[in-house]
Subunit: 184 residues, 2 copies
DNA sequence: GATAATAGGGAATGGTTGTTTCCTAATAAA
DNA sequence: TTTATTAGGAAACAACCATTCCCTATTATC
């Protein structure tokens, strides 16, 4: 069932919610119409489940990228580099479910809006935490405004997904090199 | 006819392409079905026309914001502030057609993808130009990498629209204050 | 003033959508 | 082995979609 959900995630990422028909889902999930409706109340429920699976997976990836840094500054650099990598090439064209949901649904779908908002807040808090870590371990100056900088970095990461979907090439080292000035 | 297009822009921004039905368009544009199809080949053509009208209007606003600065650095600050303002409140929730098109359509619609790419490139070139202006007038250090910084700023502006659509509050002065570090 | 041409409106249409229903095959319980 | 229960699949259904067609005013032309 989880592998079917993974396939649903993929279709929703590529096409978005409205452009994905139940027919697309049956083909992608390799489940018949009736089977999908036995497992989920409706298309919306499939989407919500896919959304949650996607965010759980992505969160894991981000934490793991952060884990590969020796101090706060390096952890943030790795997180940003990981975002650029995710936003590029085929994976980038596939898109981000959080960004897609925010743009396509959060204005008209309260359930989705709540989840999108929560996810952004979680990510922002995580980055703010890393900044404070860096200030504690001496790798980031204390005068850096943790919350504002974290929010701006969220904008950068979300913007990367938009730009990546539009197929603009992204050079991770150079882009992140510039972005790290925010921690000066 | 242009005022009808403006109304179409509004609906497409709020709901996106797929979730906007011809019925929605007739209601918004105050035109009957037949009239729309007499003026445009199909729904896709309406969208393309709306997209072009939107980008023309936005471009004008951005140039005008830049015009209110006395040197390169101030022009960029004003452009960023204008983006934050546009991404906030009701206008922010209404969303950006460029971001929306990039996320919802550019993967499956070459015509839209080309327009989105061109628009992003135009904006990026504009910002890069402002950076070079600033370097010429002495308000921005010469060691700033104009192209990389411009691309990162595009990510910030596009990300602002995503975050704004998700209803997160944005403090223009503080956010832009942090972002201006990129020009240090 | 009569006629041609056109802009606009609304009903009809074929296709597609999300959802339900019913049937079949497999598994678990007795 | 037989029965109860469940997971999965395909066809049926009503609602809605984008699009076409045809009709009615209105404008422009002669």
């Amino acid at each position: 069932m989880d592998t079917a959900l993974d396939r649903a995630v993929r279709v929703f990422r590529e096409r978005g919610y409205h452009a994905t028909s139940i027919g697309d889902l049956t083909a992608a999930m390799r489940l018949a119409t009736g089977s999908i409706y036995k497992a989920f109340r409706d298309k919306h429920a499939v989407f919500l489940a896919a959304f949650e699976r996607y965010t759980a997976l992505r969160q894991e990836q981000t934490r793991s990228a952060a884990g590969r840094g020796r101090n706060g500054r390096e952890r943030i650099r790795n997180v940003l580099l990981s975002y650029v990598a995710q936003s590029q090439g085929r994976e980038g064209r596939r898109g981000c479910l959080v960004v897609g949901s925010a743009v396509e649904l959060s204005a008209v779908d309260p359930a989705v809006a709540a989840r999108v908002g929560a996810q952004l807040k979680t990510n922002e808090d995580f980055i703010a935490g890393l900044i404070r870590e860096g200030q504690a371990d001496g790798s980031i100056p204390i005068h850096v405004a943790a919350d504002d900088t974290a929010r701006l970095m969220i904008c950068i990461t979300q913007g990367l997904r938009v730009v990546g979907k539009a197929r603009l090439p992204l050079d991770g080292d150079r882009l992140v090199g510039v972005a790290m000035k925010l921690l000066a």
